[in-house]
Symmetry: C2
Subunit: 419 residues, 2 copies
């Protein structure tokens, strides 16, 4: 994650300065980002007849044809796009392939190329004189740590891996007796426990919001409160029981809880005890939060709202459970309308009890993910009408992409454990 | 890294049991390993005209043609091969592509598919009754941790990442006052600081040799001594100065030290102080070791032997510096013959001083990497003739591949910090 230490001088007269993406493997000069925000992708596929660039929301909404030069290089330049992390791949004669010039990131159920698009204004800037960096960028202050753990799950019958972030001050000898609250933070569908670390830059975000680093644009204006020092745990959201379990008691909740039942058991019966054994946690519901993006937001609602003895702070970033009912493909079960009276085991039915028990219900989405943004508005309104307190956040101009989730985390974390 | 929890039942009569490789992405059924040790690779490339399997030493020494079925799937079955980790890729009509069914690992300067080939005897075994696992396998005992750090290097002018292993007992409150020796452990050419964690399974190896886990085949016979609990640090071996430095004083050493000069400065001036600030280390040369594989072994010799005020234990696994002079491509500088009297700033010239100062000089290679194995024999003999004490190890049947380096580490680590 080096920034701007390798400028490319193009020979064309008047060419703009450019940098290889920081997500490139060493020495790969493509993809590259120009000082006006344009991005050029290039791949050497001499025997291909047709090559397209494809990618996630925020980068390109449909396949973009690439052009071949005389040496078998296919390239395309995109107009300025949303900064942040984007998945992408090439489709050559119908086959998806990754970019050999890029690192890969686990998304779409497999290893996928990814590009970190920087703020184009910084490309032509001197970093020393223009040190206003994104909240997810490395910073020169004290650093938190990412720890990797493998644990044997009795519930799923296999080895599982989780990552744990500890804040900068955690290792200080002076804090050896200090205990910390914990946020359980989940990835989206097709991703895994590496997502928040590799794609998200969770450690840099948390460091910056905990330290209130003035080098970050969030703090340059001085208006953002600091987050409490906390531990963040990131597990794999996919879990199936080693031995089948009886049906859920309430079949009407199958839609909302499918994919969450076994994972919820892992979180509450195995993961939380594991973390509490291995870290200096404050082991009670008042100091435990859960949040997630997309599928992870859906799981967060399903798990946290039905386990309020475990969690007091809840966040969902582009959480899929807020999709309003819509026309379904033949054979798929229709999603029930979101009804605050009955949803999640009637967790919202008694607003006074809910508001005193749940210290924070926080819901975010990007304004460019239109359906989710709109359903967030509708459902937040339904909840407010039912006298449920919540915080609603719409990230400007970002889609169903990591930039939305990075911004959500940076806004959500400072509101945790403040009461 | 699950083992054998997803058996594949093939419909063919008399078909052997098989398992998807543990390095596959979730739900990918290829590559798969059969109970007789054969491995089948398969990839869907309907528009390709010719597809080959290629891979590192130990898997396939030359491209293996794959066959197309009527649905555009190309496949090939390899005869039983060396167990352990192997890089591989497909070449379709001249273009290298990764296997979408596999996780990727940083090798050859880019993200590359990899397969973990298990002991085929275990595929048809009941794990409960046959729990003799490789030394690099997850184990149910107390687990060490991998920590990830980013640090800003003044010498190179950019952000660098390192991984740190701490032993199982490090986190115990009872050991809060205990300090530990440190092994600096390096990857090979084209790899990076993730190599020992992802390809190597360094945390499982170290746990198993520190705990003497009886579930591991190394300890089933009861003959292997336990390793001392230690910290292991893995940094990126590639480093260039932000500002050019004057030439090295002794140009005759350029060959041996090229690629090590800036990295050696990073290790001794930045990395070691960083680790000593952040971990409970024993901060002296008697409790500091360095080792590495291939290029990392070469770097270890170049750095440790010229910084004996920092290191007392030295290991090289398939270290490239032991190549005897050989015919060079036109224009390439010839490697000087290995001369114990003059090599590495004459570190070996006074054997008595060397043997008292260097507590362990350990050199390993695989018997199937013929040139390196033979040059190890020759150079070890030269050193012994010069009255230098050393340990020589030849891993049976393994090539220039991670299985050699895993076995080297498991043999080397128990000899560290014992005097």
């Amino acid at each position: 994650m080096k920034f701007y230490d390798r400028l490319i001088d193009e020979s064309a007269p008047g060419a703009l300065q450019a940098v290889p993406a920081t997500t490139n493997v060493p020495s790969a000069e493509y993809p590259r980002v120009y000082a006006d925000g344009r991005v050029t992708f290039r791949v050497h596929l001499p025997s291909a007849k047709s090559v397209h660039l494809e990618g996630g929301q925020g980068l390109c909404s449909s396949p973009v044809p690439m052009s071949r030069d005389g040496e078998g290089n296919w390239s395309v330049t995109l107009p300025p796009t949303v900064m942040g992390f984007h998945y992408y791949w090439f489709t050559a004669d119908g086959t998806q392939i990754n970019d050999p010039g890029s690192h890969t990131f686990f998304g779409y159920g497999k290893q996928t190329s990814g590009i970190e698009i920087p703020d184009p204004q910084l490309i032509s800037s001197d970093l020393v004189t223009a040190p206003v960096l994104p909240v997810y960028a490395p910073h020169p202050g004290p650093q938190g740590q990412i720890h990797e753990h493998w644990y044997q799950s009795q519930l799923t019958g296999n080895w599982r891996r989780c990552f744990v972030y500890t804040p900068p001050e955690y290792q200080d000898a002076a804090n050896a007796g200090t205990r910390y609250p914990v946020l359980y933070l989940q990835h989206g569908a097709g991703e895994d426990e590496t997502g928040w670390v590799r794609q998200g830059g969770v450690n840099f975000i948390m460091d910056n919001v905990i330290l209130g680093n003035s080098s970050s644009f969030f703090f340059a204006a001085g208006s953002q409160p600091k987050a409490k020092p906390m531990i963040v745990v990131m597990d794999n959201g996919y879990a199936t029981y080693a031995t089948p379990r009886p049906q859920m008691r309430d079949p009407s909740e199958t839609y909302l809880r499918s994919g969450s039942e076994a994972f919820g058991a892992v979180v509450t019966q195995e993961l939380i005890p594991f973390v509490d054994r291995n870290y200096r946690t404050i082991n009670d519901r008042e100091h435990r939060a859960m949040a997630g993006l997309s599928m992870g937001g859906s799981q967060t609602m399903a798990i946290a709202l039905t386990h309020l003895d475990f969690f007091s702070h809840i966040g969902t970033f582009s959480g899929a459970q807020f999709l309003a009912p819509r026309s379904q493909a033949a054979g798929a079960a229709a999603a029930p309308a979101f009804d605050p009276q009955t949803a999640y085991g009637s967790a919202f039915a008694d607003p006074e009890a809910f508001n005193s028990r749940v210290r924070l219900l926080w819901m975010g989405a990007g304004t460019a993910e239109l359906a989710l943004s709109e359903s967030l508005r509708q459902n937040a309104e339904k909840l407010r009408s039912a006298n449920i307190k919540l915080v609603e956040y719409h990230s400007p101009g970002t889609a169903h992409e990591w930039q939305t989730w990075r911004l959500c985390l940076s806004k959500f974390a400072p509101k945790l454990f403040q009461s």
